[in-house]
Amino acid sequence: MLRYIGKRLLIMLITLWLISTLTFILMNSIPGDPFTSEKKLPESTLENLKAQYGLDKPLPMQYVVYMNNLIHGDLGFSIKNVNRSVNDMLADGFPVSAQLGAQAMILAIFAGILMGTVAALRQNRMSDYSLMVLAVIGLSIPNFVIAPLFQKYFGLNWELLPIAGWGNFDQTILPSIALAFTPLALVTRLMRSSMLEVLGQDYIRTARAKGLPPIRVISFHTLRNAIIPVITLIGPLTAAILTGSFVVEKIFSIPGIGKYFVESIINRDYPVIMGATIFFSAFLILMNFLVDLAYGYIDPRIKLGKKEA
């Protein structure tokens, strides 16, 4: 097991290196640079600026310098937000993004499992049909459409919740729901089909033949087996919530990493683009790793790092 974890960590580091290298190349192939603006700057000023940020050196040189700093944990300084280090920006933004993401994730998983289970148990009845219609809506409407609609109805028309901003819990409700919308639909649908499959299994009949009451059959025999596919979905879900957060944070003016990320690309703020990408990638890779570990714990048939006997 320790050997397996060590091996996985090594692969994760290599993946991360590949991602940062690729991002570095792609980022520099975007036309323009951080100092491209409408106002024409004098040639000498530009040169001075470039020299200050090390952008006057040839690209391979810049790459080596950046990687060296990265290994030492230094992500450099933002070009647009003068005197702000990327490390600081990530440290400020992360708690906000993490709270938003976690709330959305918890909502998507728990409500999704609950709704999927209800739909499966009431298969082909009214509640099943209405939940599935909702799920299809959730899958088809992107969050950049949902979010403004939420703002208009819950914020403006009915004045139930704040429209934007960040600070108290009320302000987190609308963005969390908007962010959880699509993942929730995914979990609901997956849980329903998985639950239906498990309910038809022979071992459920065995459990019923033992005389266990339905609630026990469902909670001890069905749910645990039906949840396994949902666990595997958590990895991709994290990715969906991460990318979703860029848009949702922007729409609700939430000072998370996602907002910085979007702005940094528009501004070609090289250090921030690199920093945010590496940070998100590391987070995603780590989540996938944790999901794999959890998978082995929930399904005893999966033995991590061992060859099939």
Partner: protein, 342 residues
């Protein structure tokens, strides 16, 4: 001897989009204490549905017990409440299934699956239940039960899983064990072991067994009485030697004739029964076997024959038993079949 189970005039139907399927149409059976009753018949003859009705495990909807009674200790199981049924299932009547590979929960240890019923029915505490689980695994012949009790089903072989299934079914000392094709999915040597085990446990626990199978070898090996089912009805029932050596129903003859025998010459061909079973959407009004029966007469297609008592234990439903019917005999009737020692 006292009957532990009595099924009278049982009718079970399934509602489907295409119409109502009459899977079981008036079955009468009884099971004596400590005996083994085999129910034989081809796929779709209603044998599994009959057994599942006893457990009230018929998926409902679409299945429904339309008529009849299932008497277990003077209680009619078709009428008891769901709550009472939960108490009976697993504790008074145990059941094992055809495919041991899929009949155990893959994410729960075998021990826990045995203990579950004990905790629920007998309100045992954890350590007692665990002791009993180890004891059950030892009883069904699983080596190192203390270690095996904490293992998951995928760590068991097919034969061991069926042993574990038997341990689950017998953990609460049920009075009746229903075995629905318990050996079909196992290879032949394991089959023999499982049958041997069931017989041995039956001696120890005095459990009555309903053995559902289409394997006549299994029947000869382990049953005392046989009920032959066809088209949702019991067409012939009797002691195992009566069914094997003195059977009276053309369908039973057909079953015997389609069974290969060791002492046959190489050039002897098997005799399958021609045709296919009746459509139970629209069951025939006469004898269900009439369309495939080589001895069918006009009356067979018109009216269901009454049951005729051949001996105290041997009953058959066939028009050939009528005094006016021509005398015919089954091709295999004179072949002596070796019947397993009991």
């Amino acid at each position: 001897m006292k009957n532990v189970l009595e099924i009278n005039n049982l009718h079970v139907s399934f509602q489907t989009y295409a119409g109502e399927v009459h899977a079981v149409r008036g079955v009468d059976l009884h099971l004596e204490k400590g005996e083994t009753l085999a129910i034989v018949g081809e796929s779709g003859s209603g044998k599994s549905v009959t057994a599942q009705s006893v457990m009230r495990l018929i998926p409902s909807p679409p299945g429904k017990i339309k008529q009849g009674e299932i008497l277990f200790e003077e209680k009619d199981l078709t009428k008891v409440s769901q709550r009472d049924m939960f108490r009976l299932r697993g504790s008074e009547i145990g059941m094992i299934f055809q495919d041991p590979m899929t009949s155990l929960n893959p994410t729960m240890t075998v021990g826990k699956q045995i203990m579950e019923g004990l905790k629920w029915h007998q309100k045992m505490n954890l350590s007692d239940a665990k002791k009993r689980a180890v004891e059950m695994l030892r009883l069904v012949g699983i080596p190192l039960p203390e270690k095996r009790v904490n293992q998951y089903p995928h760590q068991f072989s097919g034969g061991m899983r069926q042993r574990a299934m038997i341990a689950i079914a017998l953990a609460c000392n049920p009075k009746i064990l229903i075995a629905d094709e318990p050996t079909t999915a196992l290879d032949v040597t394991i089959q023999a072991q499982i049958l041997e085990l069931m017989k041995e446990l039956q001696h120890k626990t005095e459990t009555a067994i309903i053995l559902i199978t289409h394997d006549l070898g299994v029947v000869a090996e382990s049953a005392e009485r046989v009920a032959v089912m066809y088209g949702g009805k019991v067409v012939e029932t009797g002691r195992v030697e009566e069914i094997f050596n003195r059977s009276r129903h053309p369908y039973t003859w057909g079953l015997m004739g389609s069974m290969p025998r060791l002492d046959w010459q190489q050039d002897v061909e098997l005799h399958p029964i021609p045709g296919s079973p009746p459509d139970l959407f629209d069951p025939p009004k006469g004898c269900p076997f009439a369309d495939r029966c080589p001895h069918a007469m006009h009356i067979c297609h018109e009216e269901m024959p009454e049951e005729t008592e051949v001996s105290d234990s041997h009953r058959v439903s066939c028009w050939l038993e009528h005094p006016q019917a021509p005398s015919v005999s089954g091709e295999n009737n004179n072949v002596k079949v070796h019947i397993g020692s009991k």
